[in-house]
Amino acid sequence: MKIHKYDTVIVGAGGAGMRAAIESTKRSRTAVLTKLYPTRSHTGAAQGGMAAALANVEEDNWEWHTFDTVKGGDYLVDQDAAEILAKEAIDSVLDLEKMGLPFNRTPNGTIDQRRFGGHSRNHGEAPVRRSCYAADRTGHMILQTLYQNCVKEGVEFFNEFYVLDQLITEVDGVKKSAGVVAYELATGEIHVFQAKAVIYASGGCGKFFKVTSNAHTLTGDGQAAVYRRGLPLEDMEFFQFHPTGIWRMGILLTEGARGEGGILRNKDGERFMEKYAPVMKDLASRDVVSRSIYTEIREGRGCGPEGDHVYLDLTHLPPEQLDAKLPDITEFARTYLGIEPYTDPIPIQPTAHYAMGGIPTNVEGEVLSDNTTVVPGLYAAGEVACVSVHGANRLGTNSLLDINVFGRRAGIAAANYSQTADFVELPEDPASLVVEQIEQLRSSTGNERVAELRRELQETMDANVMVFRTEQTIKTAVEKIAELRERYKNVAIQDKGKRFNTDLLEAVELGNLLDLAEVMAVSALARKESRGGHYREDYPNRDDVNFMRHTMAYREVGDDGTETVRLDYKPVVQTRYQPMERKY
């Protein structure tokens, strides 16, 4: 076991982690621990753009953006946070341009902007061009630009280090972050990082679904680490299903395709979104579009022999426009489906995409241990966190924005904190939990296999807690997850070595996914209403009287060692906007 000491430790090197690192490294001695090489992070898979009311191509302002974000989130958004997001969006985009990001340009040489779902002029009048973009590779460009600037600033990376535990020490009755424990993939060695401040920026957990746009590595490691240490997770029942994943594969096809004029059609060739969203049509918010797609499929208007998908039609767009604005997604259609998008429509289905919920933070990125109390020295930003700027449903292009605005804020806040705070003493035998977990997995002679349990988890999640949910389906999922968690105790791995043991890490990741799936399903069961991405067929309406509140889920361990999820609730911050019926 090795012990390291840094002022600030950042967990994860996607957009939020690297944006934080650029700020933190300038101000404090910083280490970034990342389970992937930074440029492998899934920020790079984001395509369509980053919202900011630059008003480069038409009238726009941050207040309209705030409204759209609040409405898009079905009023579960904390409005003070959304206002910060929309206001700071403008400087965030300009900062990236100054760092070198190659945005597409207007004929005047300014940053070009395009339409995106849910972003509107003057509180819903018509779509507005607010998304700043670089073809359909905006996430790739953000990830590369941030990595380039990390190289420039000399950010210290620990690549292929898996953070498996959060260390917390109680000082004078206050729980403070003391550091993290990490596992080095190359050697199997355990490292303890003592740090004054820790920032989680480790991304989402979409891999508990089968059809997902998420990378294999998005297994909720950060959320699971803090949850197991007794900290809450907020709004985990809200998961976004992106309308246009490649049929059966789930690979993302950007909403920018519809922003450029692409149309969704059913088997009769009908532009069905006109029925569900007369104003915004194909550019309604993602939850609305995904439900509309499944409604078409359920009512027998799906495409293909099994009627299980619909089409994204780009055939009316000029090939030059597709080449210039959507080069990557058209290539995906050619590579993975053998389809030429110039002439043929692309089969799509909704794909599990984004966790609106996560580790609760305030607007400075400080992690909360209950509805109001800050954990000194602990921060989170990006998909792992819940500020909450996305509420019940995130708008497209607001996630690339979130990582930049709140990544930067967390980086500054954590570094400022570690400039003044002292190191907190490490708990006795700080690596014990991780050592025990690793040894248990390595020496297990059980008869359960990781791949099989993961497959069963993904199948139950897709079948029971996807776009449409009922009490019965969610209960089925809760019971199945409980069974899988029990069977997980008997999981065994084949690779017993120390060197690059990805067999072992996949087992650890499955454990994280199982914990988070349970939190999600239990949270969803209790929310007896429909709001944003959480749609209950047995409670099809939004219920502001009983459920205008954030879910806070805590892990409880009984005297006999049994683990349960305890739910509590937190008020929503409302400033300018009173909840209204949501129409697009």
Binding site: R40, E97, P102, R105, T106, A186, N266, G269, R499
Partner: protein, 256 residues
């Protein structure tokens, strides 16, 4: 506007009646110094839909047959650059290579990319590769003392000038396909030059001369012998050899 005919595109899995699965052999280069000093080939027979990816095949092996098989992967659709490997003798991303496109009749050989030290099975040491990248100063350098309040202006044509090289995902498929790099690990390699090109030809950047001097080094662009392996290997379709030629030309003319 004509309404498209909606039943034209019925892939994948067009005919649900017949099983799409075929049996293929994966011949994988194995190496684990914790177990044995030498590398060896191991064959795996698996059932796979030819429309699946080589990565899916590797997962079938790892998840259902041999958990010790080790490789890097993440996004599984050609964006993250984790899974560059040598498949049937050519550098490709395992997640962007479909079984049907590489003749499943014969054993499919999968081995680590060349020129970087193999650490375990298909995992190589990426540090020398990233060091070469860092050496070309891969970040925008400007001499502005007063930062502009708005974005810098750049014409669409100036933006287009370096578009091709912005696509790089640092997968190392190009560099590890280069015979010069195999023979002499000191050569910067195509990926580092691509990333230097991305800034040399960006109208906003003001350190082109410095980067050119770095690449004028004995281990720089002049080592390139224009074999086009890199261009063939690039999973992003970057014209790598052309980018290197443009850097050479800029070194001669000092115009860029």
């Amino acid at each position: 506007m004509a309404t498209p005919v909606m039943d034209k595109a019925e892939t994948p899995g067009a005919a649900p009646a017949a099983s799409p699965y075929i049996t293929v052999t994966f011949r994988v280069r194995r190496f684990d110094p914790e177990v044995a000093a030498d590398a060896f080939w191991e064959d795996f027979q698996l059932e796979i839909d030819p429309k699946e990816r080589v990565l899916d095949g590797l997962h079938k092996i790892k998840w259902d047959m041999d958990g010790t098989l080790t490789f890097r992967r993440s996004c599984a659709h050609g964006i993250c650059g984790s899974d560059a490997m040598r498949i049937n003798g050519k550098n490709r991303l395992a997640c962007k290579t479909l079984i049907k496109d590489i003749n499943p009749e014969k054993p499919i050989t999968v081995e680590p990319i060349k020129g970087l030290t193999v650490l375990k099975d298909l995992v190589v040491d990426m540090e020398p590769f990233f060091q070469a990248y860092r050496d070309v100063m891969p970040f925008l350098i400007t001499k502005d003392t007063n930062e502009p309040t708005r974005e810098r202006l750049q014409s669409a044509a100036d933006r287009e000038r370096f578009d091709d090289t912005t696509k790089c995902i640092l997968c190392a498929a190009c560099t590890s396909s280069c015979p010069v790099f195999w023979n002499d690990g000191q050569y910067f390699g195509p990926a580092a030059i691509v990333n230097a090109h991305r800034f040399i030809f960006d109208s906003r950047d003001e350190a082109g001369e410095q980067r050119l001097e770095i690449l004028n080094d004995k281990d720089g662009v002049w080592r390139c012998r224009t074999t086009f392996n890199c261009t063939d290997a690039c999973p992003r379709g970057i014209e790598v050899t052309k980018a290197i030629a443009e850097v050479k030309k800029a070194l001669i003319t000092r115009r860029f």
